[in-house]
């Protein structure tokens, strides 16, 4: 019997789910060693990766690029019918392959990184569960099932940020991530409810069809788009809900690489791209998305300049790059957004794993001002980190250049009224990106070593199980953009052809690059962005890889600005005063006054009154029989008097 692969979609999320179940539940306590749990986890993700590759191949030869299967009904209530259905189309196939592929490399790397940890089985079970949830999120064919994955990855993110639960800061960071995400999820749920009210369905194919959107009232569409975007700002760390992501770096580094750089945080971008027909129909919402994106990119880029923790620089860089993706969504360049998601997954995973390798080799050191000169000791980590830096900075012909340049170009030619301002801000951010990345690179790997002599001699390169994923990711960060973005220039490249449904209609962007500006403009803009990237990286490398005195001089000259960057523009403090503080005071007031005085007072008051009444009444029962008899007589007299009242009066 021939296997119909399109029916086997469910296998993709099922493999890692099975892995999580095996490691976390079935495996007996004694067998939960690093080797066993890592083997199961890596095997499960590898199977998921292979399955998604096979499915991708089948999808490409299918007449219509869409596999949609509803396996069973999940909820059936009145008009509401939610199937457990999966959908593989070019968008979800791209995400699915990327998630399982990058996830596989990070799982392999984790085996080396978590070698000295006490609970590797718990770690791998969570990691597998996360992968399953993420795959469910991208494969779901309706908003409700997508929300299951959405919450699932949020839960795993919480569990993994707080993985080292003996550290108080890790617990707090996990809680912060969870709570901030709740705000976003609230918007997402409200958006879903409104979708059901307006469209009477939650299935993508019914909600996102052009006819349905055309028939819906525009005000409702705007509300839905904005509410869903609130959800995206939570999950994808955009203004105003980005504050959880830097703190999430408390988790183990592979977690930061997998969840907080490559996959989960792109869920918001994926969702907006999935709802592309909706967002294209409401230009106001698109403008909001674009502006939030570009402002986040700029703000996070500035903050990254002042951070001294290697992982925090990368975290702010992630926020900044996510801002780029939303900018792309906002200007209607959905293909460019997904392109950047994919290339970003390559180079940012490489950067994070490189940072993990640095921490591994230096004994969990994270302060880059205390590093320097590591290149000599860690050649592989240093070289792969360098390639990833070049890639994210946008230097041709590495992956980051292609995707970022496409976003910049699409922004420049977009029909949004403020397109040029957006473009200028995005260019500025491109400069900042190159600058802070090479600041990080220079301070960490070059210049004179600023570590204590004794520790500096212990620095060592990580084992092959960690460096090989780095090398593969660096290779992808090198050629990924070139392969997917070929033939250059934009629009008609490989990914664009694959995701033809998501390409902007003619009036939005330029079909085939012909309509607005054409090839000369494209080349001019590309040269400009290349020049900006080279200037930024060159300047930063000269500044930060030289003598440390030069760095100090530079930071002194920046003065107040440097303080603002390193204190993250006091946003955490602002939220503390305006939101967290008042809420905590309210909670304290409710807990210490309303609950203790009013609620408890009421309950205790009723009890007290009954007790006092009883205290008084029990005096009658003094066990004096003759007194009882006397009262009885009195009662009898009263009854008789009542019966005879007519005679007496």
């Amino acid at each position: 019997m021939e296997l119909n692969w399109a029916d086997q979609l469910w296998l993709v999320p099922a493999w890692p789910a099975l892995g999580a179940l095996l490691i976390g539940v079935v495996l007996p306590q004694r067998a939960r060693s690093l080797a066993t749990s890592a083997a199961i986890a890596v095997g499960a993700v590898a199977l998921a990766f292979v399955t998604s590759l096979i499915l991708l191949a089948h999808l490409l030869v299918a007449p219509e690029w869409l596999f949609e299967r509803a396996y069973t009904t999940w909820i059936q209530a009145g008009d509401l019918n939610i199937p457990v259905g999966l959908r593989l189309d070019p968008l979800s196939a791209t995400m699915c392959t990327m998630v399982s592929g990058v996830g596989l490399l990070i799982h392999i790397y984790s085996k080396g990184y978590m070698a000295h940890d006490e609970a590797p089985a718990r770690f791998f079970a969570y990691l597998n569960l996360f992968t399953a949830m993420m795959l469910l999120l991208v494969l779901a064919n309706n908003f409700a099932l997508m929300f299951v994955g959405w919450e699932g990855v949020g839960l795993c993110s919480y569990l993994l940020i707080g993985f080292w639960h003996q550290k108080e800061s890790a617990n707090k960071a996990g809680l912060k991530a969870f709570l901030v995400n709740r705000i976003g999820d609230c918007g997402f749920i409200l958006g879903c409810l409104l979708i059901f009210v307006v469209f009477g369905s939650l299935t993508f194919s019914e909600v996102l069809s052009p006819d349905a959107i055309h028939a819906a009232p525009p005000a409702m569409l705007l509300a839905i788009a904005l509410l869903l975007f609130v959800g995206a700002t939570g999950k994808s760390a955009q203004i105003p809900l980005y504050v959880w992501l830097p703190d999430a770096m408390e988790g183990p580094t592979p977690v930061s690489a997998l969840i907080h750089a490559a996959t989960m945080v792109t869920a918001g971008v994926y969702m907006v791209v999935r709802c592309a027909p909706l967002y294209s129909a409401v230009p106001q919402a698109s403008a909001v998305v674009a502006w939030i994106g570009v402002l986040t990119a700029l703000l996070a880029g500035l903050i990254a300049l002042g951070q001294r923790d290697i992982k925090r620089v990368l975290a702010y860089s992630t926020i900044s790059q996510l801002g780029y993706m939303f900018l792309a969504c906002g200007v209607g360049a959905y293909v460019a957004a997904i392109f950047h998601v994919v290339t970003h997954a390559f180079f940012k995973a490489c950067l994070f794993l490189g940072a993990g390798s640095v921490m591994h080799g230096t004994g969990d050191r994270t302060d880059i001002t205390q590093m320097g000169g590591l290149a000599a000791h860690m050649p592989r980590t240093s070289r792969t980190f360098w390639i990833a830096c070049l890639s994210i900075a946008g230097i041709a012909p590495l992956a980051g250049f292609f995707s970022k340049d496409e976003i910049l170009y699409e922004t420049f030619i977009s029909t949004l009224p403020t397109a040029r301002i957006l473009w200028v801000l995005a260019m500025l951010t491109a400069f900042l990106t190159a600058f802070y990345m090479f600041r990080l690179f220079g301070l960490t790997f070059h210049g004179a070593s600023r570590m204590p002599k004794r520790e500096a001699s212990h620095v060592h390169e990580s084992p092959p199980v960690m460096t090989w994923p780095l090398i593969i990711l660096a290779f992808l960060a090198m050629v990924g953009g070139f392969l997917l973005g070929w033939p250059y220039p934009h629009q008609c490249h490989l990914l664009g052809a694959f995701m033809a449904d998501w390409r902007p209609p003619a009036e939005h962007g330029a079909e085939g690059g012909g309509a607005s500006g054409g090839l000369p403009l494209m080349v001019l803009l590309a040269a400009l962005s290349f020049a900006v990237a080279v200037t930024g990286s060159g300047l930063a490398f000269w500044l930060f890889s030289g003598p440390y005195r030069r760095v100090q001089e530079f930071e002194r000259r920046l003065g107040t600005a440097q303080t603002a960057f390193s204190r993250k523009f006091w946003v955490d403090e602002l939220y503390g005063y305006t939101v967290v503080g008042p809420l905590q005071s309210l909670g304290n007031w409710l807990g210490h006054f309303v609950d203790v005085r009013i609620v408890d007072g009421l309950v205790n008051g009723v009890g007290g009154a009954c007790q006092m009444l009883g205290e008084g009444v029990r005096r009658l029962h003094a066990s004096r029989v003759r007194f009882y008899a006397f009262v009885m007589l009195g009662g009898a007299v009263l009854v008789v008097a009542y019966m005879l009242r007519d005679l007496m009066f």
């Binding site: 029962h621 003094a622 066990s623 004096r624 029989v625 003759r626 006397f630 007589l633």
Partner: protein, 100 residues
């Protein structure tokens, strides 16, 4: 022939003496006897009124009362005996175990 009012007066006096006995005496046996006195006062009233109205039902009720009173005395006396066994006294003021 003795007028009816005298019978009524006698029955009231008997009943009142019974009440006073129940309220002021402390020996359980005397209280029981006082209750008998009250019952007899009531019986006398029943008989008197039966003759006055010319209806025999009142006299029938008296038979019932006498029968029930006999049973009541039997039960009451056995309670008093048990009381004496347990407490060594039949003073009702000493029977105060049910105090809070």
């Amino acid at each position: 022939m003795v007028p009816t009012q005298w019978y009524l007066l006698l029955s009231a006096v008997l009943f009142g003496l019974g009440i006073i006995g129940v309220l002021v005496r402390r020996q359980a046996i005397v209280i029981l006897m006082s209750i008998e006195l009250m019952l007899n006062g009531a019986n006398l009233l029943f008989v008197t009124m039966a003759r006055e109205i010319g209806n025999l039902s009142g006299q029938v009720v008296v038979f019932f009362v006498v029968a029930v009173a006999a049973a009541e005395v039997a039960v009451g006396l056995s309670i008093i005996v048990r009381l004496f066994d347990n407490k060594g006294t039949v003073d009702v003021d000493e029977i105060n175990l049910m105090k809070w």
